[in-house]
Amino acid sequence: MRNWLSAVGSRLSGKTETMEVPTADGRQPTAREPNWRLLYGAVIIELALLIIIFYAFTKAFA
């Protein structure tokens, strides 16, 4: 769990970009990018969820 949270945190923080990933043969470390499609999707899905929640909120108390 802790490892998973740490992985998500570093992925979101962008530290992954400068994170050194050792290669099998010990050559120059490579850099990793966050999964942008996943992040863009998360933003749009969150918006859709908010709209649904706000609509339900409006209807529930109207």
Binding site: P34, Y40, V43, I44, T58, F61
Partner: protein, 581 residues
């Protein structure tokens, strides 16, 4: 205000100014002064972007907006997350790759110096005036509610901002904004808790929601399409997306925030976190206003929240008429409170018929109360023609001053001034950047040294600060201030966005065509504002669509050799090489 409130207020502001000045020291070159050395990480960028947009107006006017009009204003922000995604994909890699100081520099590489200068000037006009309103808003409201001198408040707050913005530059602005936003949100959270806690003991939170909902204050989403309605789902999603694209993608006060990112990744994450947090944040602030509204269903509110206008009408020839309205308002409040209690009893008993009857009665008395408030506003207008007859901006602070405990009042006031300072500092910082980089260094002295430019940036910050203070002295009669700022922006944003879209996505549009297209787009927006009653969020769409279409048509008549396609044009927008630093 009590001593403890003063201690909290002055202490908070002093710490912020000292912190900003200290954080921004050692910035000798232009890169360090205007872009914080491009070393900021996404949490700072995200909070800085949010703090730039969330001025004192957001924290004062938005709860009042929920009180008078319900929560539908939240729809205004629905297009923002979409805009954040689009900008992360398109604008951020281009700006980073070109290593520019301002968004307008990019336009020269595509359309030439004329278009760059036009957009820079449009920005300077619009942002210069908006920064004045940003400064004026809290000064006006505090002067009315607490009786402070508006001129002194304007000058003191304005000078405090100028001190750390001019001395520390962008780094000081961004670092202080993190703390300012957290203080502002903390103050609002405390106000919300106390508003809910101040409701009668027997009223639960869900019951408070139901009262607010049945009186039309929890109307967050409205799917009906009406181009004349300011806030509905469609205007928010479409018009709001255009406005956000323009504001975050082309307004230097925002672009400068994410240009400080140490990489494309940091800048993108800053924008995307803003896209995820902004809508819930605005919902929260509006919700504070809805709860203040519920609070005033059990405690009598004043007929008109602006005490200065109230005092004026009470000593005028209309005094007896106003007194009658106050008596009428008091009777309506008593009737309304009884109806609210009847509604709560009916809901607790799950009696649908009685609930419907109580709701109808409540809405009826609410309508009559609104009519009484409108009559009071028109009386105030007759007493002093042209006076501010909207009291939306005064509702929240009246509640804070009258009902919040000692210390918390100081905290909320500190929160409001922090928000004012954060938005003003971004405004001044970006105005100085554009003045120096796009006007002075480009048109005046191209070979100016870094030291000269830094010195001039500091002077420009001070000069724009003085301009904002001077404009703040005249920025009255604007109605709801949050609307005023966004309306003013919407006059220009569509056109500016059109220029940037042409630059990003078209290969064969020349600078001349883009320039003329922008002028035609701007003329269309001005016509909409002056001659139609189209809701102002749509001005952004009109300016952008007309601007782009006009440029494409004009291009047909421009000679081929006029084309100027640069390395940063459409082909390279999605170049995979550009997605990495």
């Amino acid at each position: 205000m009590r001593t403890i409130d003063w201690v909290v207020l002055i202490g908070t502001l002093a710490v912020i100014v000292a912190y900003g000045t200290w954080k921004g020291r050692h910035k000798k070159d232009l890169h360090g002064y205007l872009l914080a050395g491009r070393e900021l990480k996404w949490p700072t960028i995200a909070l800085s972007i949010m703090a730039t947009q969330a001025s004192a107006i957001t924290f004062l006017s938005t709860p009042g907006q929920a009180y008078t009009d319900g929560m539908r204003f939240v729809q205004f922000y629905l297009g923002l997350p979409i805009a954040m995604v689009i900008l992360s994909i398109t604008a951020v890699p281009i700006y980073h790759r070109l290593k520019i100081f301002t968004a307008y520099e990019y336009l020269e590489t595509r359309f030439g110096v004329g278009t760059r200068t036009l957009t820079s000037l449009l920005f300077l006009i619009q942002r210069g005036l908006s920064t004045g309103i940003t400064l004026y808003a809290p000064a006006l409201i505090v002067s009315v509610i607490l009786g402070w001198n508006i001129h002194v408040t304007n000058v003191v707050v304005g000078l405090l901002v100028v001190i750390y913005t001019a001395s520390g530059g962008t780094k000081a602005v961004s670092r202080t904004q993190v703390h300012q936003l957290l203080i502002a949100l903390g103050g609002m959270a405390v106000a919300l808790i106390i508003a809910i806690h101040s409701l009668p003991q027997d009223v639960t939170l869900v019951e408070a929601f139901r009262v607010a909902g049945r009186m039309g204050r929890l109307n967050a989403i409205d799917f009906r399409f009406d181009p004349k309605t300011q806030y509905n789902f469609w205007s928010g999603l479409i018009g709001g997306a255009f406005l956000a694209l323009s504001y975050f993608g082309t307004d230097q006060s925002q672009v400068q925030r994410y240009l400080t990112g140490s990489s494309i990744t940091e800048s993108r994450l800053g924008l995307l976190i803003n896209g995820m947090v902004k809508v819930p944040m605005q919902f929260f602030i509006l919700f504070v206003g809805a709860m203040v509204f519920v609070f005033y269903q059990f405690v009598a509110p004043p007929l008109f929240f602006n005490t200065v206008q109230r005092a004026k009408v009470s000593t005028s020839q209309y005094a007896s008429e106003y007194e009658k309205l106050e008596a009428q308002h008091q009777t309506q409040f008593t009737e309304k409170r009884a109806d609210v209690k009847r509604l709560l009893t009916a809901m607790r008993a799950h009696d649908d018929a009685a609930t419907a009857a109580a709701t109808a009665a409540l809405r009826n008395v609410q309508e009559r109360e609104t009519a009484t408030r409108t009559a009071a506003a028109s009386l105030i207008n007759r007493t002093q023609p042209g006076a501010d007859n909207s009291d939306t901006n005064y509702i929240f602070l009246t509640f804070v001053i009258d009902y919040l405990p000692a210390g918390v009042v100081g905290l909320v006031l500190a929160a409001i001034f922090c928000a004012a300072m954060s938005a003003t500092s971004s405004g001044l910082n970006s105005l100085a950047s554009t003045t120096v980089v796009d006007i002075f260094r480009r048109l005046g002295k191209p070979h100016a040294t870094d030291a000269e430019c830094v010195r001039l940036s500091k002077l420009a910050t001070i000069a724009w600060g003085l301009f904002a203070i001077a404009f703040a002295e005249f920025a009255n009669r604007l109605g709801s201030l949050i609307e005023a700022v966004n309306k003013l922006g919407s006059l220009f944003y569509g056109t500016i966005l059109a220029i940037f879209l042409l630059a990003f996505y078209t290969k064969r549009v020349s600078g001349t065509a883009a320039f003329l297209g922008a002028l035609i787009g701007e003329a269309a927006v001005v016509w909409c504002a002056v001659a139609t009653d189209l809701a102002w969020l749509w001005w952004n769409v009109i300016g952008c669509v007309v601007g782009v279409a006009a440029a494409l048509i004009v291009q047909r008549f421009v000679p081929e050799q006029d084309l100027r396609v640069s390395a940063s044009s459409a082909d390279e927008v999605f170049d995979p090489q550009m997605s990495a630093d």
